[in-house]
Symmetry: C2
Subunit: 331 residues, 2 copies
């Protein structure tokens, strides 16, 4: 089967609703700081009513990664479910405007397009409250086997494990990709998400995944250990490549006997960490699909993450292609 | 009648759709740089389809001014028409979240909530393409006489002259405010808007308006003269107060024999001039409704405008109340 895409991403298709907030607001509403929490439609409404003025922009973890890859110049595709409403039109516009192939059928009934209420505090942390809406309609029928077979890498987000039919879609996509001889990558998404699905995720990492992305909290949660080093020893040997991010400590990449400890790229001003992990995955996957070695790929991941951290919102404000060329040339 | 509000704004209720762009895109689509152009639903769709990824946030000229006043701590109200759709819910949420009284009935049929496609170029200019949508449904029936009578200032945008029933609403509001002994303020909005309605605007300025806001291009267009000085002599004596903005040259305020030439506030980085005029009007109206003299009011206008210019999008990213206190204290 011919390869048409570097990466196809499958994830929850979400519009982000961002506002500046403070710890008092988080406490008053019982929100778990720094985490992604699932909420129902009523809670989404009451929380939005209490929120300061917002800006809206397309989000979604895997979708952000695909957007980053597209901005890096990689041919990409995305599978995710929105409704035929105004927020769905925004999501579809934004991802297609980047040149991403996005042909998943719109839901024509049921819940509205998903949104994620994001509260950004002065310490640049983001607290996310997600109403999955139409995302629960994603199912195995949305997984186009030919599309999966046409991509070097199939990239899946752990959050897909939350809606049950999306989980089936996830498994189908991973199976199809493996059968086609392609690479399967997984982002663990969030430590609470790992808590919800720990055994499943461990089995996935052992048997179905080639590349795992996780931050320090997530990988520690997966192996229920207290130190980064213990977590790193846990994942070692279970997965072809593990790319583990550690915030301003940079990232560690493990592949068999090969281990790289790569410093973070400098960030002039830490504004909002929303999407930093998604951005790292974009840079790293760009590297591994373009014949960069693992250390270089980790470095590109760091450059793209640093860009995301420097502004409000998850998606790039500049052409990542130019940024990465400039940064790599400057070294 | 008791005064409950410092300012009530009446304007087109619009959600902004912002993207970075370049001169080549503007030329390819025949867009008049720096201007606001009205477009129909089909053009809005085709132009949006051609647009790079966007962010969405509430906008509208008078609505931005009212949002600025609310952020300054002033009690305010707004009248404008949105539909009962997702973008309408966003507009309503954002203005109410600032504490603005906004009770205009939603349109339950007809066109969707208005949107303004804004193309921001690297020189920080914004080119605006507005689909008025539900705004054309605003009419005299939406003007609550008691609300108008309860506000020190009724603030109107020139753009209201575009939809015909909104024009009737404008005239009713101005008449009611004058009868109640209140102040009527008008922003000329845009030089092309002045071109469309020059004679009406001249009559308004002569007979119905106490405070006029205009930038250099708008006031030159109103009097069809080539120099700022000629325009300034033109408006002198026709209106109780004229507050004329000149970009980085600051502003000139004229009231009878009194004339003030006030420097612009320093701007560290010019990112996006969207909403600079709206922001100036907010600061100036805050001044005149809080016993600041005209020169001080112009200075507050400049401080608020400088904040708006420093970021992407028209509405404040910080508490304007704190910002203005700090800036005035620092002098």
């Amino acid at each position: 089967m011919a390869v048409h895409y570097d990466v196809i991403g499958i994830g929850n298709a979400i519009v982000d609703v961002l506002a500046h907030s403070d710890d008092a607001f988080l406490a008053a509403h019982g929100l778990a700081k720094g985490a992604m929490t699932l909420i129902d439609a009523d809670t989404a409404k009451s929380l939005y009513d209490a929120m300061t003025p917002t800006i809206e922009c397309s989000g979604g973890s895997a979708a952000n990664t695909i957007a980053g890859l597209a901005s890096l110049g990689a041919p990409t595709a995305f599978i995710g479910k929105v409704r035929d409403d105004q927020l769905g039109a925004i999501f579809r516009h934004d991802i297609r405007a980047l040149g991403v192939a996005f042909e998943t059928l719109l839901a024509t009934g049921g819940a509205a397009t998903a949104r994620c209420l994001i509260f950004v505090t002065a310490d640049a942390q983001r607290t996310m409250q997600t109403y999955l809406g139409a995302c629960v309609e994603l199912g195995p029928g949305d997984i186009d086997e030919e599309l999966i077979g046409a991509a070097k890498v199939t990239y899946l987000e752990g959050y897909l494990w939350d809606p049950s039919s999306a989980k089936e879609a996830f498994v189908k996509a991973a199976t199809v990709a493996r059968q086609a001889g392609r690479t399967v990558a997984l982002s663990l998404s969030d430590s609470f998400c790992v808590d919800r699905h720990r055994n499943d995720f461990r089995n996935l990492v052992n048997d179905h995944i080639d590349i795992i992305f996780a931050n320090e909290e997530e990988i520690k949660s997966l192996y229920q250990v207290d130190t980064f080093d213990a977590a790193m020893q846990g994942v070692r040997g279970h997965c072809r490549i593990a790319a583990l991010t550690r915030g301003d400590k940079g990232s560690v990449v493990i592949s068999g006997a090969e281990v790289h400890v790569v410093d973070a790229a400098p960030v002039s001003r830490v504004v909002d960490t929303t999407g930093a992990g998604d951005a790292y995955a974009a840079g790293f996957l760009f590297g591994v699909t373009h014949d960069f070695d693992l250390a270089q790929s980790a470095r590109i991941g760091g450059i793209v993450a640093a860009e995301a951290i420097g502004h409000f919102g998850a998606r790039a404000e500049v052409s990542l292609d130019e940024l990465v060329r400039r940064e790599l040339a400057g070294s």
